[in-house]
């Protein structure tokens, strides 16, 4: 495949992800940490984020199904989730986590459920987009090109 075309797709996709608020500057920080000694760094961190999130979402669902709800426990999970989404630059996920924590503080069960659905939705969106982005990077590298950096 044409390397230049792949690189253009990468630039366009990255640009869109930032414009639509899916990613923020922290993601750029991650990309800048990737080098020849650790060329899969971003992919590895993203994989950890996916794994961590799957686990946290299960725990959150389970915790909110309890009666009564242990809001401290729920908040602790959301705090974790907010932390990792923040570290990876998953902006929209992080924003929902902030709302989620407010619902926990208020002991708002309905609000928590809604926030959980929202955060699951946002995660699905960012996950599919990151998978496409990382796949493009693999293709670019396989074709002998370099991954274009966002300024």
């Amino acid at each position: 495949m044409d390397v230049a075309k792949l690189q253009r797709q990468h630039v366009d996709l990255t640009h869109a992800l930032f414009k639509e608020g899916f990613l923020d500057d922290q993601f750029t920080q991650l990309q800048q940490l990737q080098d020849s000694t650790n060329p899969d760094f971003v992919a590895e961190v993203v994989a950890l984020f996916f794994e961590d999130t799957d686990r946290l979402l299960s725990e959150l669902t389970r915790a909110l199904e309890q009666d009564p709800v242990d809001y401290k426990k729920v908040d602790a999970y959301v705090h974790q989730f907010k932390g990792s989404s923040s570290s990876i630059g998953a902006h929209r996920v992080k924003v929902v986590c902030i709302t989620f924590r407010t619902c926990c503080d208020e002991g708002n069960r309905q609000g928590c459920w809604q926030a959980l659905q929202q955060v699951k939705h946002e995660f699905i969106l960012i996950k599919s987009r990151l998978e496409v982005l990382l796949q493009l990077e693999q293709q670019i590298l396989a074709a002998g090109g370099e991954i274009p950096f966002m300024e």
């Binding site: 940490l33 760094f41 961190v45 602790a76 705090h79 570290s87």
Partner: protein
């Protein structure tokens, strides 16, 4: 070995050999940082920031594991205080069980380890929390996500200690 049995309990099973094997050893000329964070994404991130800044890095996922590495908790095999020559500890504040603050306090209360500079990281900007940590002897309080410039600056804390 410090014996503060009221605060420090023996961990069941001791430090697994794989964890010990991951502790970096070597020439001793690079600054050896012990990074403590229960979040796997953050742990990978801080490890990378530290490595890129040319520190030797050991990462653990809990304060209790950190105390094992430091030789403050009896593990298998038992370690002398600071056998791995840790020059600086960087720890997350919010961790289940023992917090980063508890770890800071424990290190500062130990005569053989209190000179090791401790830096706290937190995703939450809580002035009282920051004040308490600094009062307890933390060198610095970093807001997450930590930036590369913050990490590069850490060696200043280690240099300050050298006679």
């Amino acid at each position: 070995m410090v014996n503060k049995s009221t605060r420090i309990q023996k961990l069941k099973g001791g430090l697994p050999t794989e964890a010990l094997a991951k502790v970096e050893s070597g020439d001793g000329s690079r600054i050896h940082v012990l990074a403590v964070d229960d979040n796997s994404v953050d742990r990978k991130f801080i490890e990378k920031l530290l490595k890129i800044s040319c520190y030797k890095v050991t990462t653990v996922d809990s304060a209790s594991r950190a105390l094992e590495i430091l030789g403050l908790i009896e593990g298998t095999p038992p370690l002398a205080p600071n056998a791995f020559k840790i020059n600086l500890i960087i720890t997350d504040y919010c961790m289940p069980g023992m917090t980063g603050y508890d770890l800071l306090k424990t290190v500062k209360e130990c005569s053989s380890l209190k000179e090791i500079p401790v830096v706290i990281m937190s995703s939450e900007n809580v002035p009282n929390r920051i004040k308490t940590c600094l009062a307890e002897g933390a060198e610095e309080f970093l807001l997450k996500p930590v930036q590369i410039a913050d990490v590069k600056r850490l060696e200043g804390h280690v240099r300050d200690r050298k006679p």
